[in-house]
Symmetry: C2
DNA sequence: GAGAGTGATGTCTGCAACTGTCATCACAGC
DNA sequence: GCTGTGATGACAGTTGCAGACATCACTCTC
């Protein structure tokens, strides 16, 4: 497994690191895949062996996060309503994401926010989570359209909470922000008068 | 304005039509911009003058729809709560989208659903609506994070409702489906027990 | 009504994002 | 030592897209 000898180890990680640095310095558009690869001591072709496209280099742990969310939801007690179950998934997400250094998260988020193509990709990733969560809810005998609605609304909250957390105005725990965001949705959904 | 003489009229429309046909026939990836242009009696370069990139050709009326939604929200009575106001925007969207021939909508939606890049773009468009709606809500003195949450949740509902409406299992009015979807969200948000 | 825009188009050129294919070479197992 | 395997490099090719410039019907102006 670990290619310890012929090549430098962890090509993938080096590419991710190099990409983040270069994107932050010059911007996504002004950085070519070849430049990232060169900075990591590799070739362009190797870059595209590790990442399906240039954007993916910023979304490395995405599948892992999805698994955590799905586990969180499927592990919710049967007595939980759909949105409660989704909230467990969000807790799991917060626990995982909260362990990264906040400045790095912010840097990454800043790069993504600065570029439309990257924002697109982020939305697509989260939509993928939503589909997976909806499937889990259906396994828990939540019907349609409730399953889809709860899952999509929940992933929307993940996005909003992450944005709040990443902003300069929110220095709370990610878990706290996440839970607060859910509460806000419940309030907004019920409110009838302004 | 109308270039009636030297060139065939409505280049833009012809490109959109040609693209939809070719995408439906061979798929998005297997269709080059040059082929679309040729089918419309134009050149590749002209294609990219009308559309910023290959995907945009499928999202022609997007800005118009955004305007309708925004107008709907800003026209809501002051007594409306945030989600009620957003619901007016969704009604406006339904009114506009419902006037297209349903089979054409389905064809377009099928093309988009079949391709990840196009789904990405669709998500990005809707995220753009959400940002605009949130801004309108803030103008209506809805605070943060309520404005963002209501707007994002609302646009999520737009997406879900459109998908339901496009599916074979829902033959109701788009407005009906849209309203029903909002009701479902309210129910899901309140429910505490499964 | 001739001459100067103007706007939509075509042509030509070039870069960068990917992709397919084949070669290489350290290491692993036999 | 021989052979397989996996990660990489080298090279060539297609396509998405953008800049620069030419064209030419139509319009506006004097």
């Amino acid at each position: 497994m670990g290619n310890v000898g012929r090549w430098q180890p962890d090509s993938r990680g080096r590419l991710q690191e190099a990409a983040l640095v270069l994107f932050a310095e010059r911007g996504f558009d002004q950085t070519t895949a070849a430049e990232i690869a060169a900075r990591a001591g590799l070739t362009e072709r190797t870059f595209f062996r590790h990442f399906a496209d240039k954007r993916e280099v910023l979304f490395g742990g995405s599948d892992l996060l999805k698994d955590r969310i799905v586990s969180g939801v499927s592990g919710a007690p049967a007595s939980d309503g759909p949105l409660d179950a989704v909230a467990r998934g969000l807790d799991a997400a917060a626990a995982m994401l909260g362990q990264f250094r906040r400045d790095l998260s912010r840097k990454r988020q800043a790069v993504i926010s600065a570029n439309p193509e990257l924002r697109e990709r982020e939305l697509a990733k989260i939509a993928d989570y939503a589909a997976a969560v909806a499937a889990v809810l259906r396994d828990r005998d939540v019907g349609e359209p409730q399953a889809t609605i709860a899952a999509e609304a929940g992933m929307t909250l993940l996005r909003v909470a992450l944005e709040r957390w990443g902003s300069a105005y929110d220095d709370r725990d990610l878990t706290t922000t996440m839970r607060d965001t859910i509460t806000e949705l419940r309030a907004v959904a019920v409110a009838v008068d302004g």
